[in-house]
Subunit: 200 residues, 2 copies
């Protein structure tokens, strides 16, 4: 069986949210699975030296318009949150802990986090919000709370982030398909052609 | 008749070259014309404070791969030039002079400049190269040489660049469709939907 597609993202990235609503279906169409890998986008910004997109003169204003328009173009609900950016470290750690228990539940949790932030504007930097979302999915919130403070899980997120950077990741979403990197929700058509043709 | 699409570009921008091969056909499909407007992208970089894309750690290496892959994806010949970046001021001035004489010839000249640089790697910063390309299109090269040194043409390029920035331009290609800005060759599908639906 072909290797899964690697999908690196940060829960605070709007284009990652949009991609998260589409990548599994696209992959499945070509008999492929997707490895979801949250990481800390801030670490990539330290490597590139680039500022946060929305703070860049002219480009920042455009980007706010493009986030919403792209969401309408793809047909996914979207509302730019009042609190932006925010820390996604607790959510990402919770994901890796869950992933060690139950992959399908971890995927469900990731969707719930993305939607809580990008549709409802909930403050996903707060442990209490993560606990509530987890609780709603039948996840043991006490075990989650303990896990996100554990050295192993902290290390896992760090090593996933370092691993993504070692593979050239500088922004999100970042995909690797059979060794080929693709950056951005707007590269899904190129990913589809790559899957169709085995590379072009 | 509907307003033309505004297409702002710099001859030194690879994604502008790719867009230049596609935008007229896309617009024509919806009964629209396109105003081609070369400008000085460096002036936008001064506004945004962003570095040249190819020099950014990680992102620069990715971009080189993405230029070529995007060209293959769209089906247009492409070879990254040895000399990059380079000054496009002479080519852009020549365009505006020609545009004052003969719009169709100016469009033909713009295609020739883009292709000379992005297919053949010719040094389009050199007046002699611009003269040769103009000559091949039956353009009076002495009149061109005089025109690109004239204060009126210099001022025209400056005012077009300032005008683009005033409309939010921060990168190229940059399109305005009925007041809505779109950045990047990868936004052509959104432009198409905009033209189809009158906005979404």
């Amino acid at each position: 069986m072909a290797e899964p597609i690697e999908f690196y993202f940060d829960f605070s990235s709007p284009y990652s949210y949009l991609a998260s609503e589409m990548i599994d279906e696209l992959a499945a169409k070509y008999g492929r699975r997707v490895k979801w890998r949250p990481m800390m986008l801030g670490a990539a910004f330290q490597k590139t030296g680039l500022p946060l997109l929305v703070t860049v003169p002219l480009k920042g204003e455009y980007s706010l318009r493009d986030f919403s328009r792209s969401a309408r173009f793809y047909g996914h609900p979207f509302k730019f949150p009042v609190k932006f950016p925010l820390a996604t470290v607790v959510a990402a750690r919770a994901y890796y802990w869950l992933h060690g228990q139950d992959c399908a539940k971890a995927r469900e949790f990731a969707h719930a986090i993305f939607r809580a932030y990008w549709m409802e504007g909930r403050d996903i930097s707060e442990l209490t919000v993560i606990q509530e979302i987890a609780n709603g999915l039948g996840i043991d919130k006490d075990a989650l709370t303990k896990a996100v403070a554990s050295p192993e899980i902290k290390e896992r997120l760090k090593s996933e982030t370092d691993g993504a950077i070692a593979k050239g990741m500088f922004g999100a979403p970042y995909f690797i398909v059979d060794g080929e990197p693709f950056w951005g929700a707007d590269r899904l058509p190129q990913i589809e052609k790559w899957l169709q043709t085995g590379g072009f």
